[in-house]
Every structure is written in structure tokens, then in C-alpha cells.
Symmetry: C2
Amino acid sequence: MLKDIIQSALGNVKADLVLKNGKIIDVLNHRIVEGNVAVKDGVILGTGDYEGEREIDVKGAYIAPGFVDSHVHIESAMVTPSQYAKAVMPKGVTTVIADPHEIANVKGEDGLAFMIEDSKSSPLEVHFMLPSCVPATPFDHAGCVIDGEMTEELLKKYDFLGLGEMMNYPGVTACVPDVHKKLESAEYIDGHAPMIRGMGLNAYACGGIKNDHECSTADEALEKISKGFDIFVREGTGAKNLEELMKAVNPYNMRHFAFCTDDKHPAEVIREGTISHCIDKAVKLGYDPIDAYTMACYNSCVSYNLGRKGAIASGFDADIVVTRDINATQIEQVYKKGVLVAEKGKALFEVKGADTSKVENTVNIDEIKAEDLYMPFDKNKMVISLNEGSLITDGVYCESEEGLSLCANIERYHKTGNIGRCYVKGLDIANGAIAQTIGHDSHNISVIGSDSENMAAAVNALGKQGGIVVVSDKKVIAKMELAVGGIMSEKSVEEVVSEHEKIVEAAKTLSPSGSNETLMILGFISLLVIPHFKLGDKGVFDVDKFEYV
Amino acid sequence: MLKDIIQSALGNVKADLVLKNGKIIDVLNHRIVEGNVAVKDGVILGTGDYEGEREIDVKGAYIAPGFVDSHVHIESAMVTPSQYAKAVMPKGVTTVIADPHEIANVKGEDGLAFMIEDSKSSPLEVHFMLPSCVPATPFDHAGCVIDGEMTEELLKKYDFLGLGEMMNYPGVTACVPDVHKKLESAEYIDGHAPMIRGMGLNAYACGGIKNDHECSTADEALEKISKGFDIFVREGTGAKNLEELMKAVNPYNMRHFAFCTDDKHPAEVIREGTISHCIDKAVKLGYDPIDAYTMACYNSCVSYNLGRKGAIASGFDADIVVTRDINATQIEQVYKKGVLVAEKGKALFEVKGADTSKVENTVNIDEIKAEDLYMPFDKNKMVISLNEGSLITDGVYCESEEGLSLCANIERYHKTGNIGRCYVKGLDIANGAIAQTIGHDSHNISVIGSDSENMAAAVNALGKQGGIVVVSDKKVIAKMELAVGGIMSEKSVEEVVSEHEKIVEAAKTLSPSGSNETLMILGFISLLVIPHFKLGDKGVFDVDKFEYV
């Protein structure tokens, strides 16, 4: 009740909670103030000499606003939103802007509805963007299609914050009607415009796109700010832009920067956190800690117009982090709307999750035989050559199949029978195969192996649920089930990390050059928008020419 | 069409307009960039080497975003919104946030509907707030009452941006149900909290109030920012806070400051402009010009979430000011959504105005006789003592009526017959009177004179329409009609200023100490919230005790 809050703010009635003797990080005035913070009914009453039903002496710890991840694909952590919450809230994250692009490619509206419902079973505040590119390209064969008309319907039907990252720059600037229909249906549109500059960037901005998380240089970030974009500085598993982009930040334009992770592997989420890691890294690089907190807490609340959030200020949501050090590596307590949700690195809540029945059993293929995957080696056919530590691939020609592996991409939703095949250079798999149902962005089955028999064994072991399977000598030696859409588990992030470690150990036995990287390559070898040659369910795709070879 | 804009942004189709060779004020990156700005279909395409159907070489002039007045009572300029537009647009103002508090006190919903409709006949972008305090206090007898229930209805019925300045701090903190109903009905609420600090300010902020334009010290502004308020730096006729408040601005908190005028007399609007004057004054005081433009253009667009406005950036509204000097005193051209609306100080548009039939003839009293206004002098009755150059008054006791004037406040809407009377010290009116239908905030009739006969003559000459009348020796020597609610004219600001000058000249003949000040005092002597003693329609009011004497 407003009345209760106001009486409590006046000091006439005790607050629910008072955090005493803190160093309050004031992101509005860019200063640190010693004092007490009072909370009532989930709202910050303000600073002052308050009494509370519960009083906690934080003994000089920093009191900061809760952290906000401005752009994240939760699916990349391989867990459901509620399980994700248990992993990130102890690290200070209280709000995320999630783009459920992966599950939308697998299960369309059912996938989106699941994510929204599941997120409600944790205290993490999750704002969803409606994915704008399902499928990611016209050459993809994903589980679902969300066209312009359906975009309009879904925006009305669900409480989306806006349209998710518009990756289809060519579609925007070529004025493809269905793409423009999507742009015109949303007020807030996330951007994705790596290396787009000049007039092309002007045109993209005119499409109504408000932010960008794909900047890789400081100069690019500055141009984008002048053109009206907010810049989300990304520090994820694949892409780490913080060190470079912080060079562009000054006291005047800092308001236009925020932090995000985009995609972060569960092991890294557990090990280093997400947005807290951005703060830590920025501070270690010598940047102003209060800048870092302003970017971590307040700026994206303004960018997304989330209301009174992101600062320790009167009437704001009581999303609060108590951290012993300014680097946010020693977080002691995390409050969400005034409720203590994590302490000393542990979540204090349990999650129930949502009904998964509509997002399970997403693998819909007939049994695969070795001959379905077999392709005789032909020195005149292009081989995809991998580059260590990069998702960028080349196309080469080889004299023999020695040292090459066979790879296939199997359409898994509509029994089209589409199977793309190619040889791959850079991984030498011996008498075994690895198959998985994670394959950006359509998440068809990706399988790589020494031969088609091992590969068929791996694919068939995925079952209806999907996940990751490692086969050695035609026998399954490791299997991890990802029952939700073949891309997420309902288990905790810790369990998922532990299972994934076993998969990596097994993969290592197949290939000396293998390891975690093999799996990452498998996940991205079908992503038809990363140069130069990729494998789709119709064969090798020339990304630069944007057509199948 | 989005398609046309995008093709034009790409340079494939000519822009409508290109401003060439400008010094572009980039409020997003806090820098000045030399270049060209292209416009199509009312939208800024961006900067670059564009060709246009129309190309204008601005020869090194500054290209700035259009100015925004963050909080204004247009009625104080004594003209309708459309006429106001003709006065302020040549001075660079393209958007105002208007609080039609005065007309609402006179004519309630009809007054609001008139303001909204009338504003549509000019290119000025007027966003209206729904007045929250009609009447201003429980002791006022205004033309209309807008209670909590009606507030909810009006917010739904009209396109208000939110709730206008909540002046009723006591009502907010005493948790008066009707006041809280108003607070809970709006998402965005303007503030009005002069000198409120500490826990009281915390409580007021918790009411959902987002900004404040009543700060008088830098320290007060800093506290309010830390508590989540945006600060509108006011530079109007009565209150001039810019010089003091600019001391609080630093590069980090500058984002929370914007400019406003609140109340500005028409003569000053014409002479010095409104927001351009804030820029000029800030620059002359030695503050960073780009800070001034950011406060004048961009910050309140963010505060009010007005969308893509307030910067020279791609996809933003083409609200553009071309000024020869950085002080904005030599404005050459003003564009609203890409259309040239003013050049060299002259508006290039005509206005039709709205139908005034429902807001005319607002004076509803029987003929006033001298005895209605007469009050014998009594040395035991309090006299209101004026202070030169201030709206603050004192209560004193005098031995005789020598040097005093008689004053009355006449309820003018409901024929209640309420007439408050008192003697006033500080103005020595000889054989004459001045009456007017402007009297904050209820706008009952205020009349002051040497005797009740002259006063009755002045009041009766106001007629049904109202306005300002000066009587000498019982004869009207000057009259200015304010047909719209008795507070605004449909004439141009220039005509109103000219008429008002004649009123002032006439008033001067009555009192050597008179002049413009007499009229200002008359307008505010009934404002029951300014210390220490005022005159309402029920008599002398003790503002400090908040009760009639």
C-alpha cells in the first residue's frame, strides 16, 4: 500500500529492513555516500536515520543497485530461465533482458510461452524481447517461422518489451516487406549491426533500432552513439568486447553504455558471474568503479524505460547488492524487491519451473542409417577448414581424406530428410563421433565423426529429447540430455556443468585436438551468417555470397 | 513510408532537405561536428554526404536539436496555445510539456479540451499534463473540482502524458485518500516540492513523483537527484533559479537536469525567448554550451520518454534549430518535423485556434455595488503588507487607513456571493481601482483601489468575459479583454503585450509606487500557498497556519 510506504518513509512506521553503515553507490549523482538504506514493501524508502523491523549492519560494505544484463540468450547457459536465475542472482543480477531466440527457432510460440512461464517461478525479473529472426536466414530450416503477421500477434498476446535483435540488416535496408512489417509493429527494437557504419548505419537506425551489442571497436561505438544507439558492451563466452569498448566511454557519453553477456557458457556463468564480471574487469582495467555500476545497474533501465529501477533512490525497486569489495567479487547479499534472495554465493530460493510437455520430444526424424550420412571423398569438393579459437571458417580443397572428419547437418523438425554433408579439416577424430541438437540458429542435428557408422550411432542415441552424445567404436561413452527443445536442461547449472565436463572428457578421447572446442565448433558450424563457409541441412553454404555452394 | 526513409538514408533517393556546412551540436557524444544533416519525411536521416531536393548552405551556423520547455503554464503568457506557439517557435522551441492548471481551475474539462484542441492548430508539439490540484487547496473556491475519480477518467479519455505538478505535499504525506488515488492513477507525475528535504522528500518521492522544478539551491537539487528526481531548472518571470542551480551540474549528473520556464510573462517571452534564454544565460555564466543544449533539448525527452527526439541523430524527429551563435540569440531557422516553421525571428505559419464557445463568458456574478466591497477600517484587524519585488506578504496592524488601499477577492463562478476584503499596505492608490480575473490559482476576481466605489466600477467593467480594467475617478481608463476563461486572449502575443503596456501605463497614473508590480501583486494576492498572509474569497488567510484568520 502506498500509504504504508509513505508513512514508513516519513519515519512514522518502522521500515521492513534497514541496511546500516553501508557505502552507498549513488549512480544518479556519481558518488559514494556513507549511510543507511531503508526498505518497505519491496521499495527503497531512501537513505536516512531509519529504524527497521529487521536491521542489518553491513559494516562498511558497498550497497549497490541490482545488476541488469541488458541482452542475454539464456539458452546459451543450457538451462531453463528459473535455473539460470539460481546461478546469476547470487552474483548480483536482479534483472535481465532476455531474447529467447534459440527456443523460438526450435518451438516458436510454445517455446516463448514456456520461457515466459518458467521465468515466473524465480524472483529474477526477466523482460523478454520477441525474437525478430526466426528463422535466422531464408536458407535456414528451423522448427518454426515467425513472420511479420505473427510478430504483430505475439506482441499483442504476450508482454514482450519489444522486438529482439534485428540481425537481418540486408532485409532492413533492402526494404523486404515482411521485415519492415516487424519493425513497424514494435516500439522498442534491439539491434545487431556488427561493423555497419556510415549511411548504411543511418538507414538501419531509421528502421527504429535503438541499441547495438555488436560493436568491436571504440570508434564504431562512438559513431553508433552519435546516431542514436545505446551501446551494450558485451562480455560473453565467444565475444569479449569490454576492454576495447571501455576506451570509448567518457563522463558525457557514459549514459549510453550498458553491459550484457549475449551468450555465456554455464561453466563461465558459475565461475565468474555475468555482469559482476563486467564490473570487476572494468575496475581492474582502471576505469571508474561508479561508471561501471552505472553501466551495470541504471543505464539499461533508462534505455528500456523499465521505470524506477537501477539506483538506490527513494521509490525505486529495492533490488540491492551488498558487496564487500567495489569489484563485486565478494557479494554478500542480494535483495530482489526487498526480499533476500541470495547470500554468500548461494540462492535462497527453490524453483518449480514450468510445464515442459510442449517443449519436449523435439527431435522428429526417422532412424538414421550410416548410408544416410556417408559421402565419398572427392578432391574437387570443398572442405570446411576450421581456425583455432575462432568461429570463422575457410573453404579449402584437399588431395585425400587423411586427417579430415566427416560432418553432417540433419533437419530434425519436419522429417524433410534434408541432410547436408561435408568433410572438415582441423579435427582428427579417431573411431568415434559426436552428435548434438544444439546448432545455431536452427538447432538441427550437428554430427561429426571419423566415419558414417559411428556418426549414425551417435545421432540415433540422441533420441526424441536430444542433447549431446559421444560415441567411441559405435558405443555411447557419454550422453547429456537436453530435454527442453534439445537445447536446455531443467537441471541446475551446476549439474549441467558437471555433465558437460564429462562430455568434454569423452570428446577428448576421440581427438587430440578436440575438447571443448570441438563442441563449440559443432554448435556453430551451421550458423549461416558467420564467414566464410558453413554447413546447412542443404549442404555447404557460402556465407559471403549468401548462397549454397 | 519507412521504405522511402531507408532508401533515402542509404543515399539511393534524394533527401527532402539537406542542411550543408553546419557545426552540428551532438548532444549524445557531447561534441560539435562539422557536416551536413539530411531530412526525409520529417525524420533526420543522419549526417553524411547527402543530396537533397532542397539544399541549404548554413555557412558554418550551428545545427542544434529543437528546444524543449520541460514545464510551462502557457496561460501565464496570457494567450492561447496556438498563439503561444507563434511566439516561442521562432526562438527555437519545438516541444513543450504544458500543465494547463490555470484554465482547469476556471473551466475544468472544457478548459482542458480547449487547450488540447487549440494546440493542434500550430506545429508546436504540446504534451499536456493533467493538473493534479484543482482547486489548489481545500480553501480555494475555483470554477471546477477535479477529484481522484475524475482524474482517472480524464487520464483515460485524453492523451495526457501524466499527472501535473503535485503541489499538495501535505496531502501526499498525510495520505489523503483522494490525493493518493490521483497518484496511483498515473505513471508519470510531475513534482512541486520547494525546500522539501530529508525523510519528507523520501516520502514525497515514494508517491511516484519524478521531477521537481522548485529547487532554489544547488544543494537541494543534488539531494533531489540522489533521491531519483529529474531537476527542471526554472527561469521564468517570477522565479529565476538558473544561476544558482547550474552550480550543481557536473558531467555525471547533467543528464538529470533540463530547463523550464514555469510561468513567463508575454513581454518577456517576446523580448528574450524562453529556453533559448536559458542557453544564453548558462553560456554567459561560463558553463559548457553543449551541456546547455543537452539540458535544453535532449534530457527532458528522456525524462518524459518522448521517443526519438532531442538530438541530431538518425531516425530522430527532424526538430532542428539553425543558430548563428552558440548562445542561440541569433536563430536563423527553425524546423519542426522537417518543415521550416520560423525564419529570422518570424513564424511562417498561421493559426486558426479552437472553438472558444465553451471557455468564454466565465464571469458569473451579479452586479457589484460599492457596499459589497466596503469594509470600515478597524485598527484591530490585520492588514496585508506587501514586500517590494516579492510575492511573500506579511500581516501587520495599522493605526489609521492612511496610505492603505482596499482589496477584495470575489468568487466569480457560482454566485456564492463570497467576497473576501482587507486593507493592503505598500500601494497607495489615489482615486481609482484595478480589477482583474487573473488571480492564482482559482482566478476569482481580484480588485484593489482607493475606495469601494472605484472598485465596484472596475469590477463591473470586467463584464462576462473578464480581463483587466483600470478605473480612475470611477471611469474606465484602460481595459484589456481576456475572453478565454478570463485569463487568456486569442490575440497574438505582440498584441497582448501592447494592450498590457497600456494597462500598466494607466495603473501608473493611480499610484506612484504602482506599475507592473501592482498587477502582479493583484494576480498573486489570492494564492493561498505563498507565505504569510493572502486574501481568499472568505477573507484573510494565514498561509503558515493553513487556515482563514
